[in-house]
């Protein structure tokens, strides 16, 4: 598997929500980076993990597969997985693969936060 070309920064955003800022390319090669970011996001007891795709530059089908695996992990911990910052193109991919039925999609981080504290 190739070298990951992605950076994932984790921060707590309030309302029991942690945000993972994804910048770069999401492929199967970045699974260790994503899982490590997810563990960091979960360590403070977040009930919801928001994947912020504003900086997403490229995603292949391996990347989508990895998100399914992450979804299973989140489900085991009774956490909600959400996404924001998807361009129209990537939003359509979430809809095509029907990932949007399990990962709630928000237009931006503020909408996700507003929903989390409601």
């Amino acid at each position: 598997m190739g070298e990951p070309t992605v950076i994932m920064d984790v921060r707590q955003a309030g309302g029991s929500m942690a945000v993972v800022d994804i910048k770069g390319e999401v492929t199967a090669a970045c699974e260790p980076v994503l899982m490590s970011a997810y563990e960091e996001a979960s360590s403070a007891g977040a009930a919801r993990v928001l994947l912020n795709f504003t900086g997403l530059e490229y995603m292949n089908s391996g990347g989508i597969g990895m998100l399914v695996t992450l979804l299973v992990r989140a489900g085991r911990q009774r956490q909600q997985l959400a996404a924001c910052g998807l361009s129209e193109h990537y939003r359509e991919i979430f809809e095509l693969t029907r990932l949007d039925e399990a990962i709630t999609i928000y237009a931006d981080e503020a909408s996700a936060l507003a929903d989390a504290v409601r």
């Binding site: 292949n60 089908s61 193109h89 990537y90 809809e95 095509l96 039925e101």
Partner: protein, 263 residues
């Protein structure tokens, strides 16, 4: 994305009067041509040599929509130093049906595998019955392509076929992420279905390896249960079960022929 990170062509678009948001939206990411366009339900072009039932009008199903335990399976083949990943995938895409084990039919577009294509399948399940189903080409680039299954297929998920350089050699892989689509398929997968599937893809990769000139191709299989829970809310998927429907269609075929007026 910060202003500094905006691509050059976006900055150019801003100079001709587009807002930053409009300019960003007008730039297609480089994977745009690799993904199929969004579809709600599958449309089918009838193809010779397959029955072509149980696909038209069906929705796509991923692991989220499946019923059974979730499995991740990887079938790998060391294709040696001579074949490049691009050559391996080009050959696989262009001749995909030729590598399938005997008794199974894959009827795709003549041009090979392209995003958005729907291929029709007849799969040997024994007793003179062919399971009639299909697959959708979700993604394709020069080093990989992915097929996604419709409602009624044995499993809900996708299979990614890829090749990459690892050290001096090219490794070819079929990677399956799936759940059995309904309770009946789950029973079938548990009692022999998984072993049959493993054999299917091992034979396929062996045939591909032989075509690529790999001496004595050996396929390595790795299978992991990612989620042992069954998604009972999706048990109703059995309504679309293509195996049951194919069996009924096979039994009903003589009656159809008899009721059709002679030409």
């Amino acid at each position: 994305m910060s202003d500094q990170a905006v691509p050059e062509n976006v900055a150019g678009a801003e100079q001709i009067g587009l807002s930053a948001r409009e300019a960003k939206a007008s730039v297609q990411p480089r994977d745009a041509g690799n993904w199929a366009a969004k579809v709600e339900r599958l449309a089918v072009v009838q193809r010779d040599g397959v029955r072509g039932t149980n696909v038209a009008g069906r929705r796509l199903t991923g692991p989220v929509q499946g019923f059974g335990k979730m499995w991740e399976k990887t079938y790998s083949l060391n294709a040696g130093q001579v074949t490049t990943p691009q050559d391996a995938i080009a050959t696989w895409k262009a001749h995909f049906p030729e590598f399938w084990p005997k008794g199974n039919r894959f009827a795709g577009a003549l041009a090979g595998i392209s995003p958005g294509d729907v291929a029709l399948l007849d799969l040997a399940i024994g007793g003179g019955v062919k399971l009639s189903t299909g697959v959708f080409v979700l993604y394709a680039d020069q080093e990989s392509f992915t097929l996604m299954t419709p409602q009624g297929h044995m499993f809900a998920g996708w299979i990614t076929f890829s090749a990459e350089r690892t050290g001096d050699a090219t490794t070819i892989r079929a990677h399956v992420l799936m759940r059995a689509n309904d309770p009946l398929y789950e029973v079938g997968m548990t009692f022999g279905g998984h072993a049959k599937e493993d054999q299917f893809w091992a034979q396929t990769l062996t045939a591909l390896g032989t075509r690529l000139g790999v001496p004595d191709p050996r396929v390595e299989t790795r299978s992991t249960c990612v989620d042992s829970h069954r998604q009972w809310r999706n048990a109703k998927n059995i309504w679309h079960n293509a195996m049951l429907r194919s069996t009924l269609q096979t039994l009903a075929a003589p009656l159809h022929r008899r009721s059709r007026p002679a030409a």
